[in-house]
Amino acid sequence: MYWVTPVPSDGLTFTADGKIATLQMANVPIIDQPRWPAIDAETTPAFLDFKLVFTPTDDPVRYENAMQQYRFEGFKAKAQLEATARVPSIDFTFKTDPLETSKCDFAVMGDEVNGKYYESSHG
C-alpha cells in the first residue's frame, strides 16, 4: 500500500456527535526528495507531525460506480491542516501557521463500501 500508513488507535477521533473528525499523528517517518520524480532522486529522512480536521457541511454527496464496485455516501466538508516537518540532517524545520488559517479545495467525509462489500450493501 504505497500511499497508506496505519494509524494508532487514538490517532483518529470524532466529536461526541460523530460529525467532526480529527486525524493527528506525530513523528511520522517520511522523506525529503527534492528532485522527485527523477529516477535517481536522492532522499533524506524526515519526520512529520500533523493535525487534520474534517468538518462536514450540509451538502450531501454520493459517488457510485457499479463497474468499479464502490459507493461513497457522505457530505462535502471543510478540511484544515497544521503540521511541522523536520529534516534533521540539514537542520531544517518548517511549521505551518495555525490550523484555522489553512484552506482546502476539495474535501468530503462519510461512509464507503467497495469490493466484496459493495454487492451486499444497500445504497
Partner: protein, 140 residues
C-alpha cells in the same frame, strides 16, 4: 501525497516530504522508532504448518485499477474511488488542494500546499487472508 512546499527548493509537485513512500517503509520499522505509529505487521503470508491452508497475507488490497502503475496517485475529485483500500467498508474522508503559509527555522515565511497535497483516513473493516480485519489507515 502530502505536504508540498512551494518556494523553498524548486517548484516541484512533490518537492519534499514524500510521505507515501516512507509510509510503506514505516511498516517495516521497529516500534521504538515509530513511536506514535501503530504496530508494524508483515504483509507476507504466514507459512502454514501441518498442511494447513494458505490464505494470503493480512495487509489490505490496493484498488486494482489504481495499482496497475504501482501507485495510488489519483487526485481526489467527485465521482472517483476515494478509498485506497479494496474490499473496504467503513468511514472515509478525503481532501486535497491545501493552501497555507508557514515559517521555517530561519524565520523565512513560505507558502505550502499544491493541488496534490492530499490526505485521507479510512477506518473500518477490510477483507484479506479470507477474514475481516479492523483498522485505521491514513493516505498521506
Amino acid at each position: 501525497m502530502a505536504f508540498d512546499f512551494v518556494p523553498r527548493f524548486e517548484l516541484n509537485r512533490r518537492h519534499w516530504l514524500e510521505v507515501g513512500v516512507t509510509s510503506a517503509l514505516a511498516a517495516c520499522l521497529p516500534r521504538t522508532l515509530l513511536r506514535a505509529q501503530s504496530a508494524p505487521q508483515s504483509c507476507a503470508p504466514p507459512i502454514p504448518q501441518n498442511h494447513e491452508p494458505s490464505n494470503g497475507g493480512p495487509c489490505p488490497y490496493p484498488i486494482p485499477w489504481l495499482d496497475k502503475n504501482g501507485n495510488h496517485n489519483q487526485a481526489a475529485t467527485p465521482n472517483v474511488e476515494l478509498s485506497s483500500i479494496y474490499h473496504f467498508k467503513g468511514k472515509l474522508a478525503r481532501c486535497n488542494g491545501f493552501h497555507g503559509m508557514g515559517t521555517d527555522n530561519k524565520g523565512n515565511r513560505l507558502a505550502w500546499g499544491t493541488p496534490t497535497t492530499d490526505y485521507s483516513y479510512m477506518a473500518g473493516d477490510y477483507w484479506s487472508a479470507r477474514q475481516v480485519h479492523q483498522s485505521v489507515f491514513a493516505h498521506t
